[in-house]
Amino acid sequence: MNVKWRLGMFFIAGAFFLFFYLIAAKNLPPWGHYRGPYGDVISSLSVYQRHATDVVNAIDYDYRGFDTLGEEFILFTSIIGVMLLLRDPKLKGGAAESDEGLSKTVKVSAGGLFGITLIFGLYVCTHGQLTPGGGFQGGVIVATAFMLVYIAENLKRFKAIASHPLMEVLEALGAALYALVGVSALAVGLPFLTNWIPLGTTGDVLSSGTIAVISASVGLEVATGFILLSYTYLQDIVSGREE
């Protein structure tokens, strides 16, 4: 296929796209206009029922908490899968110590950003029930803070943090804590994953019962999981294993 043909195809496809785009843009609902029944119902209920001002987290970790439990274990098993596939790299040594290209400016600013990113990540983790955010988002931000350690220092320093046995224990603990919160409801005689912890005052950090606990445990699992994931990849690059 030559260039002329390709251009022709592009213009035909572009004309189709423009046609449907203009129809879609014309029929776009007005901004802030919600067209379903469930959103309005749950927005008006969640503050009274669960003392959580962020409805999305109330849904994720309470109303449909069982689904989120499954999703968290999908992440858990896929991280285990990656670590299993890339396990035991035969260290050939002498491969790229890949921090040679980084300038001092990059390293210093990465070091300065570490503290800010870590605090912000922990804030997002622990305030999921009040403001947008929650365990998953905060966990990835915390993991990003530790990747900044790799940029600011070198792989050796990152390895000292990421290959620590505590990392794997914390990841498993984060995943287990979610299930344990669910089982704890059974222990007091209520259905699985019932929000049985006292709900507290709306707007407090320690409000909304199990939602805050589950959010923190998801944060722990996601943060350590992503650190282990990036370490496994980096280790595989640097070791230069041959298949």
Partner: protein, 87 residues
């Protein structure tokens, strides 16, 4: 607001096209990261700040990082192969 929304959607369509159009893999990853950031802006605009936060960290940071690491792995493998072939 309606015009701003449709403009944002058009911008996303164009930048998605440009991600495919970029041929160099490293540049393509950066384009993908920018595309992820635009998606986050869209989620924020359509009043889904939770999804926007996830999109920023996953679409603009974690996914490009993993692709970058895979590219680095492949390039390193090519380098060792060519240096062994030269000897």
């Amino acid at each position: 607001m309606k015009i701003a929304g449709s403009f944002l959607l058009l911008l996303i369509a164009v930048s998605g096209f440009m991600v495919v159009r970029t041929r160099d893999v490293t540049a393509q990853t950066l384009a993908l990261s920018f595309y992820g950031l635009l998606l986050a802006v869209m989620f924020f605009f359509f009043q889904a700040p939770d999804v926007a936060l996830s999109q920023i960290v996953v679409g603009a940071v974690a996914l490009p990082l993993i692709i970058m690491l895979a590219i680095a792995r492949m390039k390193h493998k090519e380098k060792t192969k060519s240096s062994e072939g030269g000897q």
